[in-house]
């Protein structure tokens, strides 16, 4: 099918525009329309997986058209082993998030329209192969996100939304300067990823260092790497459930995706120069995030900080640039974290919808009255703390295997994170699910309904499948990763 990626990018936008013509009262029609609009890209992404040839690192489904000839700007999209899993994850989580948003009653029309616009932005970022296009999509995402948090969020929504918006924008400025530096240092001037990657080793070394730092700031904020992470807990706590899912599941991955897609292959010298700081930041994130998690009293904040910790593994893994295992571990972690943390945020939303509180200490003994909810929650908690047989373990283990030869001592410290993670999660499980049932909730907390179960089942199946047989994920990535390692070693 030609134009596959374009359809995936723009169908949500079209759907969003169509929804604007609905009447505000037609809530169920709007919800149905939004669901259909996200199911189509999901089906397309499955077709993409079907047609994708995993034996080559070459870009596939490429579309290339002139856009602004004077600046050498093209509409250029394509997918390879780095972006294919991310595109699929985006399509899946978007669909799930839409279904998880059926409880939204306030300004339904605008909510879903913004959400679909957001999906367009995310898909675009993962598919773009031209800096101009990439930057446009990168910024397009900010707007709906800002409104989704700022309008439909919790008590401190304005603060969180502005913080998110400005922080990301702050990073984007560095990225923009970096892009311009690369643009003017190639002859003829180009914004094409592929051409810039080709040109990569020829960039002046000092330029590479400078641009690497600029890009790193932009991407580190998005990841979020320590110490640029403080927007995340605020944004997560205030955002509505489905927005948290997207934020954790997809948006954070754009930081690591940017490093893998842009910084690493375009700036091989800069990358190799900065692997130690990157690994160190990753390890600090792992340990620091886990320690801070232990002090949390709000369930959602705990999950938010656990993201800081888990994304640290991505940085540590990718810093081991000479090993396929490290980068593969990073990409596994991106995918696994998207599944697991996405589901955890849905589950936080489930209990919040019923109890209108997220305070861990307010619950107790939930397993007695909500067996399904508790079972599912504990399953994903186990996934998050890296239990073998589930996806999180495979990625953490690969990260360690990759980073150990290069960063022996740092990896030794990072391993501590495995213990701390078990500590804070089991503490939460004990306080919320074990013990005597807190009688103040008697009769007020029904178990998960069918719609809610539906939203987590696909995530659970994927988490278990990847954990038991990781090849179903690694098969898409292998040649691309090997090629990436070659590009960085230039």
């Amino acid at each position: 099918m030609s134009g596959l990626l374009s359809w995936m990018i723009f169908i949500p936008l079209i759907g969003g525009v169509v929804i604007l013509f609905f009447k505000q009262e037609q809530k169920s029609a709007i919800r149905a329309a939004a669901t259909v609009t996200t199911i189509i890209p999901l089906i397309l992404s499955l077709m993409m997986l079907w047609e994708y040839d995993p034996s080559t690192p070459a870009m596939q489904f490429v579309e290339h058209a002139s856009w602004i000839p004077a600046l050498n700007v093209f509409y250029h999209v394509g997918a390879d082993g780095i972006s294919v899993p991310m595109l699929f994850l985006t399509a899946l989580l978007s669909m799930i998030s839409i279904v998880a948003s059926f409880g939204i009653e306030k300004r339904v029309k605008e909510y879903f329209a913004f959400f679909l616009l957001l999906e367009t932005g995310m898909m675009g970022v993962f598919a773009a192969l031209d800096f101009f296009l990439f930057y446009v999509f990168w910024e397009v995402m900010l707007v709906p996100m800002y409104f989704l948090i700022g309008v439909w969020g919790g008590p401190r929504k304005e603060y969180a939304a502005i913080k998110f918006f400005l922080y990301t924008l702050f990073g984007s400025i560095f990225m923009l300067v970096g892009i311009l530096l690369l643009y003017f240092n190639t002859e003829p001037h180009t914004l094409s990823f592929l051409e810039l990657i080709e040109h990569g080793p020829a960039f002046d070394h000092n330029l590479q260092l400078l641009v690497f730092v600029f890009f790193f700031i932009a991407f580190a904020i998005k990841i979020p790497a320590w110490p640029f992470h403080t927007w995340l807990p605020d944004a997560h706590v205030e955002a509505p459930t489905a927005v948290s899912v997207i934020l954790a599941g997809v948006l954070l991955k754009m930081g690591t995706y940017g490093l893998l897609r842009i910084s690493f292959p375009m700036l091989p010298y800069g990358t190799n120069y900065f692997i130690w700081p990157m690994a160190a930041i990753g390890v600090i994130g792992i340990i620091y995030g886990a320690l801070v998690c232990m002090a949390q009293k709000d369930l959602k904040k705990l999950v938010a900080y656990s993201s800081v910790s888990h994304m640290g593994y991505c940085l540590l893994g990718m810093a081991a640039v000479t090993s396929v295992a490290g980068i593969q571990g990073c990409m596994f972690q991106m995918f696994a974290h998207g599944l697991i943390t996405g589901a955890l945020f849905i589950l936080v939303g489930v209990i919040y919808d019923r109890a209108h509180t997220r305070e861990i200490a307010a619950f107790g003994g939930l397993w007695l009255k909500l067996p399904v909810y508790s079972g599912v929650m504990i399953l994903f908690v186990m996934g998050s703390l890296g239990l073998p047989g589930l996806a999180g373990f495979v990625s953490e283990f690969m990260v360690f295997i990759g980073s150990f030869p290069t960063f022996t001592w740092l990896t030794g410290i990072a391993v501590l994170g495995v213990l701390l993670t078990a500590g804070y999660f089991l503490r939460m499980v004990q306080k919320m699910f074990l013990g005597e049932f807190n009688t103040k909730w008697e009769g007020k907390l029904p178990d998960m309904n069918f719609r809610e179960i539906f939203t987590v089942v696909p995530l659970a199946i994927l988490m278990i499948a990847i954990g038991c047989y990781p090849k179903i994920l690694s098969m898409w990535m292998q040649p691309t990763i090997q090629d990436l390692v070659r590009l960085i070693a230039r």
């Binding site: 593969q328 073998p388 360690f400 078990a422």
Partner: protein, 637 residues
């Protein structure tokens, strides 16, 4: 036949899935599925044993599970005599325990879930013993940890139970950190995690020296956690919060033996690196001695058995550290049977009197004949009395210390203490008069589902060790061995001494707790400080709480504060500064820059408003000024 051995763990896994997603509402069907799965596994394990007796192997079957670059990880089966024995042990004990649980858990509201968990555990444990590489053994290692967590905290309404589950998971995971690092070192040094390939690298000298020692010690950390060795033994006694059959299966017979199994499996490392082997042996005997001494004074029937387990595991670990593969694995097998029996018999007692405290028991032998008899058999076995199972395996353990006098003395002291505390337990529970009349009156012998497994295990506690009788030409030592089969000559001197030590332990217990010739209270008073120290388990829990747990919470609170006030403070501070900056700029704009612009305007306007008076528009005025100018020029000229 052998390549289909994966069926053995797959059956219980299927049972778990079926129970959770299908039959959980029907208690009889759920427990039936679970028991059928494990009994079928047992039958298959017997068939495998005969196969392996015929051809020792090792037989290996695997496929690539995950590859990255030039490396890959495998999932595969390794079947050799050790595996065959372990499969048998696990399936027998698990079958007995599950049948026993029909009676013991009868009436529990989460009956079906219990069987789902037990099946999941059986799956994990069987997978663990079948693993052919480090990564896979680690995967199942963690899964047994999960099921142990779930089962210890099975009655999670009780805070003590959920605490114990959490403690078990986290403490064993602390050991697993070392395990992970050990695996990473091994992979880094060998480029493979397959057991056979790693051992080849050791034998060819590729994997040697400090790296090998480091790998050995780090890998051993995993065993220290799982097998509850010093200093990570603290979780096992607390794990007794779980249902008693669980304690029997997981925390006595099988899972805790996984650490011993691991050390045996990778014994090549500890033989190649003597210093790593010595670390293992020292940890083993330290644990054994420490736990036995604590066991002397505990009053909770299950805690006595728990410390006994820790102590016996220490025995096995020590023997392996000294290179005695056959002794360690042989004792692993015999111990599994008699320790499972001890726990199940204790469970039968608890079931009857609804207390764990031996101070409230007494005289129960009259009412519970089968339980008492089987408990005494198991106690004779663990005390190493001829000709029961324990005698033969303990003899080999003691023999393995020949050449290490300190180890031998300590080993014999442990043997003495073991005999003493076991018979203290038996006498306090079954003989004498009832100390709590009410509980005694309500006591009754347990139902058939519970006593039949006791009898089966009692049979094994007597006879299982006979496969290791040194005069057998095809005994245990010519089946399970490392390198060359060794025929341990029977040492009459060693056997005599250890038998004597065991009997004197029993004798002392007899005098103190049956005859009452020596008053236990007076002994306790005589050694008050020592007694207090032992009674409080050397204060390990308190020490760990003070140096690890509490400081950790404080550190976490500090870093959260740091995050909120310093890092986020910087972010918000930057925002505030920007805001002030823009306010200042605004002021500057309004009053200075705009002021300058406006000032220029005002100046011009002011000047203009004055000059304006000159611009009257009247010709006469202009003519007058021109005239005045002409006059002025005239004069100036």
């Amino acid at each position: 036949m052998l390549q289909n051995a994966w069926i053995i763990p797959a059956l219980p896994l299927a049972a778990t899935v079926l129970i959770i997603f299908g039959t959980h509402r029907n208690r009889a069907v759920s427990s039936g599925i679970s028991i059928a799965a494990i009994v079928s596994g047992f039958i298959y394990a017997v068939a495998i044993l005969f196969n392996v007796l015929h051809d020792h192997g090792p037989h290996e079957f695997y496929f690539k599970w995950l590859d990255f670059g030039s490396w890959h990880l495998q999932i595969g089966l390794l079947i050799d005599p050790l595996t065959a024995v372990m499969l048998l042990v696990v399936t027998i004990v698990s079958s007995c325990v599950q049948i026993y649980s029909l009676g013991y858990m009868h009436g529990d509201p989460r009956f079906s879930r219990y069987f789902a968990y037990i099946s999941l555990f059986s799956f994990s444990m069987l997978g663990l013993v079948l693993s052919n590489n480090f990564a896979m053994i680690f995967i199942f290692w963690e899964l047994v940890g999960l099921t142990s967590y779930l089962l210890i905290g099975f009655w999670f309404e009780k805070k003590s139970a959920s605490d114990a589950g959490k403690k078990a998971f986290i403490t064993t995971r602390a050991g697993d950190l070392g395990f992970i690092v050990g695996i990473l070192i091994t992979l880094y040094a060998c480029g493979t995690l397959n057991f056979g390939e790693v051992f080849t690298k050791i034998e060819t000298g590729v994997f040697a020296g400090g790296l090998l020692t480091a790998a050995g010690i780090f890998l051993f950390c995993g065993a220290v956690g799982k097998s509850a060795q010093f200093p990570l033994h603290v979780w096992l006694p607390d794990a007794m919060e779980g249902p008693t059959p669980v304690s029997a299966l997981i925390h006595a017979a099988t899972m805790v033996a996984a650490g011993v199994y691991l050390v045996a499996r990778i014994l090549t490392i500890y033989i190649a690196s003597e210093s790593a082997g010595m670390v293992v042996a020292v940890i083993g005997i330290t644990t054994s001695f420490m736990a036995a001494s604590i066991g002397l004074v505990q009053n909770d029937i299950k805690r006595v058995l728990a410390y006994s387990t820790v102590s016996q595991l220490g025995y096995m670990i020590m023997a392996l550290g000294l290179g005695a593969y056959t002794a360690g694995t042989f004792h692993l097998m015999t111990h599994a049977f008699f320790k499972a029996l001890l726990f199940l018999a204790a469970g039968s007692v608890i079931h009857a009197v609804h207390t764990n405290d031996m101070q409230e028991m007494g005289g129960l032998g009259k009412k519970m004949k089968i339980t008492a008899l089987t408990m005494f058999i198991a106690s004779f076995s663990i005390a190493g009395i001829f000709p029961l199972s324990g005698f033969w395996s303990k003899d080999e353990i003691v023999a393995s210390t020949s050449g290490h006098p300190i180890f031998m003395v300590l080993t014999l002291m442990v043997a003495f203490m073991t005999a003493f505390y076991m018979f203290r337990l038996c006498f306090l529970t079954f003989t004498g008069g009832p100390r709590d009349q009410h509980k005694f009156d309500h006591a009754h012998e347990s139902p058939k589902t519970m006593t039949v497994p006791l009898m089966v295990l009692a049979f094994l506690a007597i006879f299982a060790g006979w496969v290791g009788i040194p005069w057998l030409s095809h005994g245990f030592s010519s089946f399970v061995y490392h390198g060359e089969p060794h025929h341990a000559a029977f040492h009459f001197d060693i056997a005599g001494i250890s038998l004597f030590v065991g009997l004197s332990g029993i004798g002392l217990a007899y005098l103190m707790y049956y005859k009452g010739t020596i008053s236990p209270d007076k002994v306790a008073a005589r050694f008050r400080p020592l007694y207090t120290l032992l009674y409080n388990k050397y204060y390990f829990d308190e020490i760990y709480d003070a140096i690890f747990v509490q400081p950790l919470y404080a550190i976490c609170d500090f870093w959260f504060w740091f995050d909120q006030h310093i890092i986020d403070g910087l972010v918000n501070g930057a925002a505030t500064l920007t805001l002030w900056w823009s306010i200042a700029k605004n002021w500057f704009d309004v009053y200075i820059i705009d002021g300058a612009v406006n000032g220029a305007g005002y100046t011009i306007r002011g000047t203009g408003s004055i000059l304006r008076f000159a611009q009257t528009g009247r010709l006469q005025n202009y003519a007058l000024i021109i005239f005045a100018g002409v006059i002025l020029i005239w004069f100036l000229r």
